[in-house]
Each structure stands twice: as C-alpha cells, then as structure tokens.
C-alpha cells in the first residue's frame, strides 16, 4: 500500500526534476562559458533524479515481493504461490515495469556520463545533458500518462493473475535488463553526437570518450540478443536459435547499425574522418532501438510471438520517436556545415580506413534486408490490407551469398595499415591456409548427400577466416579485442553452417510402449509419471534411445501445468556435448493416450553460444583496455 504511494510520488517528483534539468542545462548553455566547471546543481539534481527512480523501482519490487494486489501491475502479473525469485523478476516481466527499468537505466547512464566526461568541454556536456533529459522527460511522461506501474485497484483482489510461465525462466530474468542496457546506451551516443555536432567537438578525445559508450552498449546489446536466443532455444521447445521473427529482427537492426558505428568510430579517432557518417549511425542506432521497443510493444508486428498489448501506447512512443528523429535530422542538416574532414584528400583504397568503410557497407546492406523483411508486411497491410509474413528463406537468400565476400574481406582488412598500404608479395602461410580451407570445404562437399555450391564456398570462406584469425590470435596480443571478436565471428558462422547442415529431426505422436526407428536408432517410449512442483504439476515422460550397438541413452522430457495462470509448458530434456545437442521435447495431445514427441540432434549448438560469448568477450577486453 504505502509502497504504491512512494513509488508513484517519486516518479512524479522525478519528472519535475527532469523538467528542471532540461531548462537549467539550456539556461547554462545559453549563458555561455564562465568557467570550465559544471554547475554543481547539475550534479545534485541528477543524483537526486537517479535516487528517485531507484526508489520508485525498489517500491515496485517490494510491492511484487509482498504480493500487494492493490497495485494493478502486481495483480496482473503476480501470484502468491510464485517462487520469490520470479516474483522479483516479474517486476520487469511486464510492460509497465520494463519501462520503469528503461527509465532507471536512462537516468543511471546520464549520471555516469556526467561523472565520466570531465575532460570534455563544458558546453558540450551541457548540451548532451539537455538532449538526454529530453528523452528522459519523454519516458517520464510515457510512464505517468499511459503506463503507470502504480495504478490502484479497489476493491483489493485476494489473488493475482500470475506471470506467464514461459517467462518464469532464469534466462528471461536477465534478458530484458541486459538488452535495455544496450538500447539505452545508444541514447547517450545519440545525445552526445548531436551535442558534438552543434559544438563541433570532434576531437580525438571526444572519439575516445564516446567509444567507451559505443562499446558498453554494443556489449550489452550483443549479450542481450544472445540471452534471448538461448531462452527461445530451450524454453519455447522450437529447438532453434534464430527464426527471423519480427521481434528478433528488431533487436538485430540496431545491432548492425551499432556494429558499423563501433568500427567507424576508430576511423574518426585515428584519422578524423567520416564525421557525418558517425552522426548518422548514432542517430539511426538510437532510432532503431526506440522503434524496436515501439514495434514490440504496439502489437503492430504480426509476430508469431506477439504478446497481447495495447495500441495506444504504441502511438505515444511513435509520436515521441518521430519528434526525436525530426529534431535530430533538423540539427544534422542545420549544423552539418560545421563538419570539415581535413584528411579527405589523404584517402587510399588499400587501407584500414577503406576496409572499415566496406564493413559499413555490408552492415548497411544486412540492415536494409532485415529492415525491409520486417516492415514490408506492415507496409503492405496498411496499403492493401493483405496480411503476409516473410519467412526465413527471404533472409537466408539475401544474406548468405553476401557473407562470402564479407568474410574474405574480414580476413585481411584488419591487418591493413591506416592511411595507405600496399600489396606485399604473397605470404606463404596465407596460401597454405587458403589451400587447406579449400580442401576441407571440398571434403565436406563430397561427404554431404545434398550438395550446394554456395554453402561450400561459404564454408571455405569461414574456415579461411577462422584459420587466419586463429593464427593472428596466437602470434601476438596486439589488438586482442578485435582479433578475439573476429575469431568468434568466424566460429559463429561455421557453427551456424554446420548446425544447419548436420542437424536431424524426428517428430511423431506416440503412446506408452511404442517404439519407432529413426536414423538407425530405436526410440522407445517407456512410461510417464507425475510430480508436484512449487506452483505447477508436472508430467515426466521417460524415453530410451537405443543405437545400433545397443548403447542406450535416457531422456526425461517434462510437461508442466502451471496453476496460475493455467498454462502448459514443455521443458525440453537437452543433452549437450561438444559436437551436438540432443533435444527431446513432448507435448500433450487431446487424446490422452498420445503424446506429441519431437527429437532433434542439433550439431554444434553449444559453439553458437560460445562463439557469441567470444565476440562479447572481445568487446569487453577492448572496453577494459580503453578505460585503463
């Protein structure tokens, strides 16, 4: 009860502080430079704002822990029998709470920004704070007007409606916060690029300072996408890691843009080039992050995993987003004459600079494919009211062939020198690797029943990059972060390819006692037994798989029937080994005798996760080295 009040009023108070900061930072900016110190009030009020949002967030968590059903959000998303861990996680497992988390991260990041930007010009800092406070004010309004997490319910219900059980999962507890850290990090990049543009503050020091933020949001965004993917793999029982579903795509689009920015910012730092392009990427990364939230929350996307939701909220975000983009584009055109690229004449095709530009082209191409594949259905529905969806073949067809030149350029691009390099005589080890990669891919081509030239060339390209980056990694520790990430990327592409090529799947309806042959193995359905969990009842089936040599492995897939809300989920039984995952999942059918059974052998599954973690680790090392 009391926490409802505390939470709500700290939000209202926080809103007024952001208004104050908005005007105060503008006022100080217009007053101009008196000294180089930031007015102390900015520090005080920013920390107060952060404190209030934290207070509000904690109140919501406490309301969830206490199962205070006078709070509407708690009522709709919690239940007394839910384990404590998921009561807490339920705080951000819903729309209102997750937006409050967005706001929390926004205020936290601007606070860190203020503390960490001491070496920057004062006017630039003030402007960055100003832009950031516009975003923060927008989110305060959004929360208070359309999605107040502290709405009262009267009479107070005795029991809550419970959290969707598929969200009751450890991966999904941390997936949204991590993803948000990535999204929100891009808001800082957005605000400070605009400020830098107006102040013409594109110094080396600025590039270094903003690079940290690019790294931070890139690391979190990559990690967030990975977690979502892992969750979909084992909790949804689909047995895959990526489905080209719109909800997944909207997180991938800012990733492409941010990855392009991550590379471009080095050119800016080292060569003072590509200033306008940096700004454009900053604006687009942030816009894509915001529209991601908008599209997921609005219900506009015809996604196979759309959550039921409220269109009015979408309209608010859309309007807000539109204003921000308009503001950004206006500022860009008005101030872009400030930009002078001094080094433009010193530009040569064979250099690190141009290889990074080529990387950017590829990123933009991938981005446009995903963008078109995601929004074209919406577009068509508005115009012709036809409902369509665009499946994986579209994306595979347009992305896979372009990966070949992309991987090959990646194998030599990073080693080129800045400004200008020249063709050296061919090195022996490279030819050696080249031949080896061709041999391996031909071997795979020969071994496979179903032959596909494109895939073979792609395998060759990724093996080549894999070998080259592995050798580079062993040779020296310079540029460790870049090398590790690129190595991880080659491993990722290889694992995805092998996963696609070697995986096998079997599905059928089976009764107890049935046995079916699949892939020279015998699948036997032994029995079922029921069990009671904390807030669910479960049915555990036991299966035995016997191979030609009579070796057996046992599987115990499970169906959980949650009591509040009354939903069934399947818990897959997954046996992970170095080369393959064995994935067993069952489902109820109406006819009680039959179970819907699905058994998959997923090759190199664990390497998809490990390689993505390596990519993230590369980023992390880069960040730590920079901060030092």
């Amino acid at each position: 009860m009391i926490f409802n009040h505390i939470g709500y009023y700290s939000l209202v108070f926080g809103f007024f502080i952001s208004l104050y900061l908005l005007f105060f930072s503008m006022f100080l900016y217009l007053k101009g430079k008196l000294n180089n110190q930031l007015n102390l009030n900015i520090y005080y009020f920013s920390s107060l704002q952060l404190f209030l949002v934290i207070l509000s967030f904690i109140s919501l968590i406490i309301s969830f822990i206490l199962s205070d059903f006078s709070n509407e959000t708690v009522y709709y998303n919690s239940h007394t029998t839910k384990p404590l861990f998921y009561k807490i996680a339920g705080t951000w497992g819903n729309h209102e709470g997750s937006l409050l988390l967005w706001l929390l991260v926004l205020t936290l990041f601007i606070f860190i920004f203020i503390l960490k930007s001491n070496n920057q010009p004062k006017l630039y800092r003030l402007l960055s704070i100003f832009f950031q406070q516009i975003i923060i004010t927008g989110f305060f309004l959004f929360l208070l007007i359309t999605s107040n997490p502290f709405n009262y319910l009267f009479p107070i219900p005795i029991e809550g409606l419970g959290l969707n059980p598929i969200l009751q999962d450890p991966a999904l507890v941390i997936h949204p916060p991590i993803l948000y850290l990535g999204y929100v990090g891009s808001s800082i990049i957005f605000s400070s690029s605009l400020a830098a543009l107006i102040e013409n503050n594109f110094s080396k020091i600025w590039a270094k300072h903003i690079k940290n933020w690019v790294f931070v949001s890139w690391i979190f965004l990559t990690l967030g996408i990975l977690l979502g993917s892992i969750w979909a793999y084992y909790e949804l029982g689909w047995g895959g890691f990526w489905f080209w579903d719109p909800v997944e795509n909207v997180s991938l689009m800012p990733w492409f843009s941010l990855t392009a920015l991550l590379h471009t910012i080095s050119v800016l730092e080292k060569r003072q080039l590509l200033k306008s392009w940096t700004i454009i990427l900053s604006i687009s990364t942030f816009s894509l992050s915001m529209s991601g939230t908008f599209l997921v929350r609005s219900g506009i996307l015809n996604s196979v995993h759309t959550f039921a939701n409220d269109p009015e909220r979408g309209v608010f975000i859309l309007t807000f987003l539109f204003i921000l983009i308009f503001l950004a584009v206006f500022i860009f055109f008005f101030f872009s004459k400030n930009i002078v690229n001094l080094n433009e004449k010193n530009f040569y095709w064979l250099s690190k600079d141009s290889s990074i530009i080529i990387n950017n082209w590829f990123m933009m191409y991938f981005l446009s494919v995903v963008l078109i594949g995601t929004i074209y259905p919406i577009f068509l529905e508005v115009i012709t009211s036809d409902k369509i969806s665009i499946g994986p073949p579209f994306f595979n067809k347009l992305i896979v062939p372009f990966l070949i030149p992309f991987l090959l350029i990646m194998s030599f691009g990073p080693k080129l020198k800045w400004i200008k390099d020249r063709f050296n005589k061919l090195e022996l080890d490279k030819i050696f690797f080249f031949v080896i990669s061709i041999l391996i891919s031909v071997l795979i081509y020969e071994k496979l029943g179903q032959k596909n030239l494109l895939i073979t060339i792609l395998i060759f390209a990724s093996i080549y990059l894999f070998l080259i980056s592995l050798i580079e990694l062993i040779k020296s520790r310079n540029n460790l972060s870049q090398k590790l990430s690129h190595f991880g990327f080659s491993l990722l592409i290889l694992s995805i390819l092998f996963n696609g090529l070697f995986s096998k799947e079997f599905s059928s309806n089976m009764k107890i006692g049935d046995q079916i042959e699949f892939d020279n193995k015998l699948i036997k359905f032994k029995n079922v037994e029921s069990k009671k969990g904390s807030n669910y009842n479960s049915i555990i089936a036991s299966f035995v798989i016997e191979d030609e040599n009579k070796r057996i492995s046992k599987f115990f897939p499970e169906i959980r029937i949650y009591n509040q809300p009354n939903i069934m989920t399947s818990e897959a039984d997954i046996k992970t080994s170095i080369f393959q995952d064995k994935f067993f999942v069952i489902n109820f059918l109406k006819n009680e005798n039959y179970f819907n059974v699905r058994y998959q052998v997923k090759s190199f599954m664990i390497w998809i996760w490990i390689s993505t973690l390596l990519i993230v680790l590369g980023g992390l090392i880069g960040l730590v080295r920079k901060i030092k």
Binding site: N164, G237, W361, S389, K511, T569, L589, K590
Partner: protein, 140 residues
C-alpha cells in the same frame, strides 16, 4: 575534359548507384518469391482460385475437433463464420489447444482441406489472431 579527380568521383558514384540498383532488384525479387499470405477460413471460401503457394491460415481451434493418431493430428480451424479441416504431422507448440488461437502454415488441398507443415507458437495465452478478434467482436 574532366580532371582525374572528377573522373574518379563519377566512377565512384556510378558504382554506388549500380550497387543500390542491384540491391533493390535482389530484395524485391526475393520478396516476391518468399511472401506468405495470411488468410482466414472465410477468405478461403471466396478465393478466386486456389494457389499452389504456401499460405498461413489463422483462427481458433474448434471445440471437440482435435483427433489424433500415430501419424498425424487432425483439427478444424474456425473464425466462427467458416471453418476448414487441417491435417498436420509434426511437433506442436505448447499453447495449441481447443478454443485457442492458432496459425497454421502449409498448402490448400481444396476449399475445405488444408495440409499444414508448421503450427506456429504463441507466447501469450490471451493472444488471438486479429481476424478472429474482429469476427468475435462482430458476433457480439
């Protein structure tokens, strides 16, 4: 004549232009081939011709319509105006149940019979395909 620098620039821009043209062409062509239309059982009845292409049909699973045997699952998708029989063999998602929303992807055999290749999952037990929602609302 133009200088070397201008020539280089013209060359550069024409390459970019060509690249953009090529990309647009590729994307549009691929779109044309890979679009899957989403229709309701009522739409199936009034289709001018049955296409051989893959489509999605969305609606509710009719009450008491699910039948199972070792090979396949049979059920009826309804939008409370028309209905269509569906046969499916493969794995079903958790939230597949009678009187819940469902989206099936596959091929039309005739106007009353649909062979599904995939049944799509929904995250949310309250989710309904928009058509069904409209159909239900207009019934009230």
């Amino acid at each position: 004549m133009y200088g070397k620098k201008v020539k280089l620039r013209i060359f550069f821009f024409s390459i970019i232009f060509l690249a953009i043209l090529l990309t647009t062409f590729l994307i549009l062509k691929s779109l044309e081939e890979n679009v899957v239309y989403f229709i309701s059982p009522s739409d199936v009845k009034v289709l001018p011709e049955l296409s051989k292409k893959k489509i999605r049909i969305g609606g509710m699973v009719k009450k008491d319509s699910i039948e199972t045997n070792a090979k396949e699952i049979l059920f009826i998708i309804t939008d409370y105006k028309s209905e269509i029989k569906v046969s499916f063999s493969g794995s079903i998602p958790n939230l597949f149940a009678e009187e819940k929303g469902v989206v099936a992807e596959g091929f039309l055999k005739d106007r009353n019979y649909f062979t599904a290749k995939k049944i799509l999952a929904k995250h949310d037990e309250n989710y309904m395909p928009p058509e069904v929602k409209k159909a239900l609302e207009s019934k009230k």
